[in-house]
Amino acid sequence: MFSLSRMAAIARKEFYHLRRDRLTGGMIAGIPIVMTLLFGYAINNDVRNLNAAVVDEANTSGSRMLVSDIGATQVVRFVRHASSVQELERLIAAAKISVGIYIPPDFEQRRVQGRPPFVQVLVDDSDPTVLGAVRGLRNMPVGHANGGVDAIALRPLFNPERRSAVFIVPGLCGVILTLTMVLFTAIAIVRERERGNLELLITTPISGLELMVGKILPYVVIGYIQISLILALGVGLFDVPVRGALTDFYLGAGVFVTSTLTLGLLISTAAKTQFQAFQMTFMSFLPQLLLSGFMFPFEGMPRAAQLLAELFPLTHFLRIVRGIVLRDADLFVMRDDLWPLAVFFVVVMALATLRFRKRLD
């Protein structure tokens, strides 16, 4: 029979461990802070003074005016001259410049005839923030184009997907929780095995389920502390707009944390040492990081990878959290991504509890 008070005893004991374990305590706050700052600043910095070169084959007063107007925006800074589009491409590939501006010889005719594009901008978008910054240049007044086609053609060279801190920070909640939750729970049980505590525990009347649930409860609380930190940093430092309701955000996060924690429990039933638990956690973390849509856009992935990614809690949570934070969706709208999390929880929790034996062999 499941005993709530036995489960509570395990949870309370876990808090005692955490209180006396400075390192883990530091990691609870440290990992989200460091990662949010790193990701947020690297991506959200207002991009200015990008190194640029220009090839002006028209060399009219109009084209020279355009070049000086572009320079005046301070988005780019002309650092050298080039003589051909090929040279621009070479300079970009060699990372000498990030932006190349090409003005064709028939620039004036195109302008007069309203035949865009008048100018081509080559962009090193291997750094996605550059592309975002340069996009602004398209609004430069260079003449009228027919049929609403852009007068300045943007040519992203490497990665047409655009991202920003606004997009990154909500996803970061999921990524950091996936790493820390799984790691903490896996370690917490394997540590008891390594230190010999488990031999005593399994000789008592405690049940596997009481032990498992008691173990994960404290980490649900820790998970909430972490996402709150990340969200606060995102809003405070990077102006991430929280468009949806906070209650929906926290509810969704609770479902996600509980389901991803069970993975830690499952790992703990297989790992014999803390080091093995570390390794297994990273083995399970990497595919989630790569395939969930955090690193690469989900739509661009091969079908097989997409199907695999549908199994991961992180994939669904990313959709939920982006929906709520960025698009003002509510949990009901995101229900198609909620039930897979619930299924994941039930299946993995059952597996872990079945695998956990109150025996040493």
Binding site: S3, G196, E199, T203, T204, P205, K358
Partner: protein
């Protein structure tokens, strides 16, 4: 007499190694039952099977009247197991550890505080409530461990080398507590290396390489030893020992301080004269006399390599 533990052909293999080899045990109720044997002879493995933590490869064990595998969970309410390695939480205080165990054993909520302070008194841990378990001395740790596995008044206690890291004074106190527990009706199965502790057990089992090689009360074991014991006093014990070991009628030699115990084949009629003559021949005179066998002799006899 009722038995707390009965095993039939209890066997446990780890791969190629047979750690416990067809052991038949009968442990009477309400007594101290000692497990004596060298390191690695299978004492801990046997206890783990009796607690339901390991499944036997063959044979079976009936513990407190139930099967140790099928009804392992029923059993866990009624037993206490003090592991060989300290298995409480070193980063929890004495009181936190004890309270945790009262909760795990589901003692009635109102009794928990009472039981904890009773155990603190009884195991002389009062005044150390707030000390982290990891900073306790060897003897204090062992008392804390015993305190935490006796809180639910178990009928059967397994103590795996409870005194191996403890000074003689603490060992005596520890054994006083063991006898108190037996007086209150518990059965205690304890493993040990120490002969003085073995001497205090009501019953003893000697294990060697997984097999049960001798069983009985200490006096039964001493009386039935298949050897005559001759004590020798000498200043050149190493040489004498070598000389004795080469004699065909000497089964084994044990050293006890400055004295030697020669275990002589009981077929030899006058063992004292036999040894004196043999030692004189190699000019190693020694004072020899016939003595009553002690448990050390029994142990050496039972676990000597020739016997295998």
């Amino acid at each position: 007499m009722a038995h707390a533990i009965e095993t039939r052909g209890l066997t446990r293999r780890f791969g190629m190694l047979t750690a416990v080899d067809s052991v038949d045990l009968s442990v009477p109720e309400k007594c101290v039952y000692g497990f004596l044997g060298p390191n690695g002879c299978g004492k801990s493995t046997t206890i783990r099977m009796l607690c339901g933590l390991l499944r036997p490869s063959a044979g079976s064990a009936t513990v407190l009247g139930v099967d140790s595998v099928e009804q392992a969970e029923t059993l866990k309410q009624k037993i206490g197991y003090m592991t060989q390695r300290f298995s409480l939480y070193e980063d929890l205080t004495v009181v936190e550890n004890l309270r945790f165990m009262t909760e795990i054993y589901q003692l009635p909520r109102r009794q928990r505080g009472l039981v904890v302070s009773r155990q603190l008194e009884r195991f002389q841990l009062a005044g150390r409530e707030r000390q982290l378990a990891g900073t306790l001395s060897g003897g204090q740790r062992q008392r804390l461990a015993l305190a935490s596995v006796t809180m639910h008044d178990p009928e059967l206690l397994f103590l795996d080398e409870p005194t191996s890291a403890v000074d003689p004074e603490s060992r005596r106190e520890f054994w006083d507590i063991i006898f108190e527990l037996v007086d209150q009706g518990a059965t205690v199965l304890v493993t040990t290396h120490f002969m003085d502790e073995a001497e205090r057990c009501h019953h003893l089992a000697i294990l060697d390489e997984g097999r049960l090689v001798a069983e009985g009360t200490p006096s039964q074991l001493r009386d039935s030893i298949p050897a005559t014991v001759v004590e020798l006093e000498t200043t050149r014990s190493r040489k004498v020992r070598e000389a004795l070991a080469s004699l065909p009628a000497v089964l084994d030699v044990a050293q006890l301080g400055s004295r030697l115990h020669a275990l002589v084949n009981p077929d030899v009629d006058a063992p004292v004269q036999y040894l004196e003559r043999a030692l004189n021949e190699v000019s190693l005179p020694a004072e020899c006399r016939l003595v009553m066998p002690n448990l050390e002799d029994v142990f050496v006899m039972a676990t000597r390599s020739e016997a295998r």
